[in-house]
């Protein structure tokens, strides 16, 4: 089934709302981090929202997602509830990973959302494997793998590129090129800074996209997804973007100029879409404030939900290290009890 790009007002407002949900949610997360409600690492996606929103709108519910530790935006755009995401960041059992993973490890099987992988490059072979399973079982689903340009320097990137093309696996690789691998600029980490070119050297269809423009990302994704579904071959999108905040919660941003950040902020995906909509009389101030009010209420509901979440009892510490023993077979005797005895 062909998925058409709808450039009508309703759709664009929906895309704006998705991006704003991510933006406002993460701004609140930063605040909650300051209040020590959220702990550990917190990697914000602010500035890059157009990529997740654009790509997700080209997918079907059957498709698989593999993302990184900077995945709040992907989870929201994929349809995981803001409540379950925030509760996860609070570490509560009503979180999408029962509070076990935190910000970096959002999982939701019902949305085919396979994390939340915090080893740079580690998700790429995994995505190729999911694609192989889809292909071999004729599931008519593809796998989307998001990763940063920092992953391109990893061996696993190249291994996965080679395998995906060699074995004709239905994967959409989405490189979110935000120009810094933590604090190391692209030119300091890549021999060839055109990442799409690097991917195409493996014989893969690859292109660069303006990752600050949600319409461009969606259009490119629709084209890519259609091609993957037709050919069962992988496709590579390099989305050129910029992260407005630091790498994580512990980043003094000594490696870049404030002027550079400002320059990118001015062409940010949210402000750009708002400006365009307003200039073309598609968005009234009142509509925007209504959207903002809806998002504010959603965030408040998520906070209430997270605050009410339970802590997992310590007695469940070792639960789910292994699967519960299957009652129907006597070949497996895995129990959490035996695990507990070892602890």
């Amino acid at each position: 089934m062909k998925h058409k790009l709808h450039l009508d007002r309703v759709h664009l407002l929906a895309q704006l709302k998705q991006m704003l949900r991510i933006r406002r949610f993460e701004e609140k997360c930063a605040e909650l981090y300051g209040q020590e409600k959220i702990r550990g690492f917190l990697h914000l996606y602010i500035g890059e929202e157009a990529i997740a929103v654009g790509v997700m709108s080209a997918l079907s519910a059957k498709d698989n997602i593999v993302a990184t530790y900077r995945e709040h935006g992907h989870a929201l755009a994929r349809g995981l509830s803001m409540k379950s995401i925030l509760a996860e960041m609070y570490g509560r059992t009503n979180g999408c990973s029962r509070g076990r993973g935190g910000s970096m490890h959002l999982f939701d099987k019902n949305h085919n959302f396979y994390g939340g992988n915090a080893i740079v490059g580690g998700g790429l072979p995994l995505a190729a494997g999911l694609a192989m399973a889809n292909k071999n079982q004729d599931k008519q689903a593809l796998t989307v793998c998001f990763f940063g340009e920092g992953a391109v320097a990893e061996g696993e990137f190249h291994e996965a590129m080679n395998l995906a093309v060699l074995w004709k696996l239905p994967v959409l690789f989405v490189c979110e090129n935000n120009r810094y691998a933590m604090g190391t600029a692209l030119a300091l980490s890549e021999s060839e800074t055109n990442i799409a070119k690097k991917a195409s050297s493996y014989g893969m269809a690859a292109e660069q996209v303006d990752g600050m423009n949600v319409v461009d990302v969606e259009a490119a994704s629709i084209k890519a997804v259609e091609q993957i579904r037709q050919t069962n071959k992988p496709y590579f999108l390099e989305c050129q973007s910029y992260r407005f905040r630091g790498h994580s919660s512990f980043d003094g941003q000594l490696y870049r100029d404030k002027a550079e950040v400002k320059l990118w902020q001015e062409k940010g995906p949210v402000i750009r879409l708002i400006t365009w909509l307003k200039e073309n009389n598609h968005l009234e101030d009142e509509e925007l404030s209504n959207i903002e009010a809806e998002i504010k209420a959603e965030i408040q509901a998520a906070i209430d939900f997270a605050e009410q979440g339970q802590w997992e009892p310590i007695s469940d510490l070792a639960k789910d290290v292994y699967s519960p023993p299957a009652s129907s077979t006597n070949t497996s005797h895995a129990t959490n009890k035996s695990q507990g005895e070892q602890l």
């Binding site: 999408c96 490890h105 072979p125 399973a133 079982q137 291994e159 395998l163 077979t329 070949t331």
Partner: protein, 327 residues
């Protein structure tokens, strides 16, 4: 067919073949497992019989294809991944340790990874310092993994099927010195994969071992019998989780324990087992626990040095005599 005599290699192959026949989700993937027939010849002939979709030759990219195995398992397949040797598996350790072992717990129990990884291990073929090691303990250290060490032909034949029936990642170590040996194979496994088995009953000293050292322990037990020492030989079979109950029951009976482990002494499983005995059977001991492990050197190429590095039958016999003399 009640029982038959097979080489260890043939037993492994028969296990893989049964798995392929039993379940169409099963496939074998690894470097040279197909057209070449497997680096150690284990999968010879399977490519011709089952085809390229189920016997998959991979490029040389351990992390890549083990990661594909993890993803395929998540996606509903039942992959058997062959990594040529434990030495090469270090290149895939990220996928095994950071992905396969963590996904279930980290996702709050939503996901599981029904993956089996087979790899060769052990010294004795003069393959020197990058192809000969026994690093079962690296993986036995990791919660979320199960680690098997089939030391007998029957276990070589049946443990794979047991591992595939398990919903979690299982690593199987196949000692290279066993491949050409012949032994009896029964119609089914003698026990669940996580159970240790007493291969030789005895009353004076427990020889606790696994994998390639089981034969040495049994040979030592035979010699010890002539010396009027009754040795009990415990084959651990599963290195994670350890069958602590069987270990403790044996030591409680014999009051003495020698652990024979082809890994290096420092940080070895032998040390772990010794600690378990100390914690749970200290008051039953008549002598300190003894560990016989590999000398702490990279395995050297010349045979005399390689053999000098490994635990040997004579050392086991001497250690047993010494432990009996200690009072």
């Amino acid at each position: 067919m009640s029982e038959q005599v097979l080489t260890y290699r043939e037993a492994l192959r028969a296990g893989i073949e049964q798995a392929l026949l039993d379940d169409e989700r099963v496939f074998l993937m690894g470097e040279d497992v197909g057209r070449y027939g497997g680096c150690y010849g284990v999968s010879k002939g399977l490519f011709e019989r089952y085809g390229a979709k189920r016997i998959i030759d991979t490029p040389l990219c351990e992390s890549g294809f083990v990661g594909v195995g993890v993803g395929a398992a998540l996606g509903g397949m039942r992959p058997i991944i062959e990594v040529m040797t434990v030495n090469f598996s270090l290149l895939a350790m990220d996928q095994i340790v950071n992905s396969a072992a963590t996904l279930r717990h980290m996702s709050g129990g939503q996901l599981n990874v029904p993956l089996v990884i087979r790899m060769a291990c052990g010294a004795g073929l003069q393959l020197a310092a990058q192809h000969s090691h026994s690093w079962e303990n690296f993986y036995a250290h990791i919660p979320g993994l199960k680690v098997l060490s089939p030391a007998t032909h029957n276990d070589a034949r049946h443990m794979l099927i047991q591992a595939l029936a398990d919903p979690d990642p299982v690593i199987i170590f196949e000692h290279v010195m066993l491949l050409n040996t012949s032994g009896e194979v029964l119609e089914q496994s003698e026990a669940s994969m996580e159970k240790a088995l007493i291969r030789q009953q005895g009353t004076d000293v427990s020889l606790i071992t696994y994998g390639g050292s089981l034969g040495k322990a049994l040979a030592a037990a035979k010699q010890l019998k002539d010396l009027n020492i009754s040795a009990e030989v415990v084959d651990l079979r599963c290195l994670r989780p350890l069958d602590t109950k069987t270990i403790i029951a044996s030591v409680t009976k014999t009051h003495r324990a020698i652990i024979i482990d082809e890994a290096w002494l420092t940080g070895s499983l032998a040390g772990e087992i010794s600690a378990i005995i100390m914690e749970q059977a200290f008051w039953h001991l008549d002598a300190p626990v003894k560990r016989l492990c590999t000398a702490e050197v990279p395995i050297p190429y010349p045979s005399h040095l390689e053999q000098a590095a490994l635990p040997q039958v004579e050392q086991i016999v001497t250690a047993a005599q010494a432990i009996m003399a200690a009072r």
